[in-house]
Amino acid sequence: MLKIFLCFLIVLGSGYIGFSVSLHYRKREKFWSDFFDFLNYTKSQISFFQNRLANIFKDFNCDSELKNVLIAKYKNFDSPNSCELKKLSYLNDNEWNLINDFLDSIGKTDSSTECERIEAMIVKINEKRQFAKIELSKKGSASTKLGFACGLAISIILI
């Protein structure tokens, strides 16, 4: 009885690990897709309406953690260094720095130069988005199943 309970826990645990790995890829894909949309939105807001960054950051809607990053940046516009940004766990240091550097440097020149910079960023982020999509389809969906399968395999060996 104890053995069966232990096996159940192993299956559950390894399934959870598999699910977490899958979630990591899903979050990455969602984040890069939202950032890609954000860049396109920002470009149109700057080139056509010349709306200010604070309004752009505030008005852009998404359901990934990008929104929290934008809110923190927006608050810092109002009172500098008032809001500390926490690094997102599913981004590596280079990616995190790329986003932060971009968000910090935006808005310092005229609209045509800003749009050129955003376009260059869109190309970079599109690559990341495509790669994150491939990663999600390859590793993301498989990792939950793989987690459960590993759990089951260990359980069978134990039994």
Partner: protein, 306 residues
């Protein structure tokens, strides 16, 4: 609004010294003393109060200028790049920041200003009923085309704003079009005027007088047009066209008086044609908004202050 614009240390010091409502200007020059215009008088600021000598002065630096500019532009230089090209940035509530530095020039003219070395923060004041005397002469037998003449800082914009408000209080409804080229008269922020410019005013902000008059007359059918700071031939041609379309114009121009203004070649033709029926001359002799006289189209004095 100054709180949002100035570094905390400077804002706290200024508010501990004087009431914000009496601050007219703050001048920040790189590596030079910070000056404040309080009630028309310039005072040098030290780190603890007003300085008696320049040695005690609080010296402004680049980072202070950068901070103020970042706040003024809301970290969005592109949204005010056209203003910077013309040497100013407007902030909330009609605060206008004059910008001085090195101009960057390309084929089309001034592209931007870099290495900004000084800022002149001008705080607008809403003084209700300050233009009532002038309004009595402007509104005699209908609205008269009026030119408000004053040197910089004498209160032209405050007068125009009060005239706009006064027109809406007159017996007959006067649809007024305000062409607010530099966001000073109505100080519109996000499409809403920060200043009281009357109940029947439409505001076109940030465009040239030429555009505002041409498009505004077509689409808004105003009875009166108000605009600030006539200076160029183009401005005067646009004004002249508007007047010949049956619209009354109330505008302002930089000069000490009508004699001084007549020395400017572009205004000579205007004077000859008698396009304006009223000339209101103000100065800052006894503080901003001091009447120096109100004249008719023949420059006969209609009102001379005691």
């Amino acid at each position: 609004m100054l709180k949002k614009l100035l570094p905390d240390e400077l804002y706290n010091l200024l508010t501990s010294l004087v009431d914000v409502s009496v601050i007219y200007e703050i001048r920040i020059r790189n590596h030079l003393p910070i000056c404040v215009n309080v009630n028309g008088q310039y005072k040098i600021v030290s780190s603890s109060g007003f300085a008696r000598t320049a040695n005690e002065a609080w010296i402004a630096n680049e980072s202070m200028i950068d901070y103020i500019l970042a706040r003024a532009t809301n970290n969005s230089v592109y949204s005010v790049s056209n203003q910077i090209r013309h040497g100013f940035v407007t902030f909330d509530s009609g605060i206008r920041i004059g910008v001085c530095g090195e101009t960057v020039i390309d084929d089309k003219g001034v592209k931007t200003i870099k290495n900004i070395s000084s800022l002149n923060i001008r705080v607008p004041h809403e003084i209700k009923n300050c233009a009532m005397t002038a309004l009595n002469f402007i509104l005699s037998n209908g609205v008269k085309n009026t030119l408000l003449i004053a040197p910089p800082g004498a209160g032209k914009t405050t007068f125009l704003r009060d005239i706009a408000r006064g027109l809406s209080l007159s017996k007959s409804v006067k649809n007024t079009l305000i062409i607010d080229e530099r966001y000073e008269i109505a100080a519109a922020h996000q499409g809403y005027p920060s200043m009281d410019v009357g109940l029947f005013s439409d505001i076109i902000s940030g465009c040239s007088k030429e555009y505002g008059l041409k498009e505004g007359l077509r689409s808004l059918k105003p009875d009166v047009v108000i605009c600030d700071e006539l200076a160029t031939y183009e401005d005067l041609i646009a004004i002249s066209d508007a007047m010949s379309s049956g619209v009354k114009v109330i505008a302002s121009a930089h000069a000490f008086d009508h004699i001084d203004l007549s020395k400017k070649p572009q205004f000579q033709e205007i004077f000859k044609k008698k396009l304006f029926q009223r000339y209101v001359v103000i100065s800052e002799r006894n503080g901003p908004g001091t009447y120096e006289g109100i004249f008719d189209d023949n420059f006969s004095c209609l009102f001379f202050p005691q």
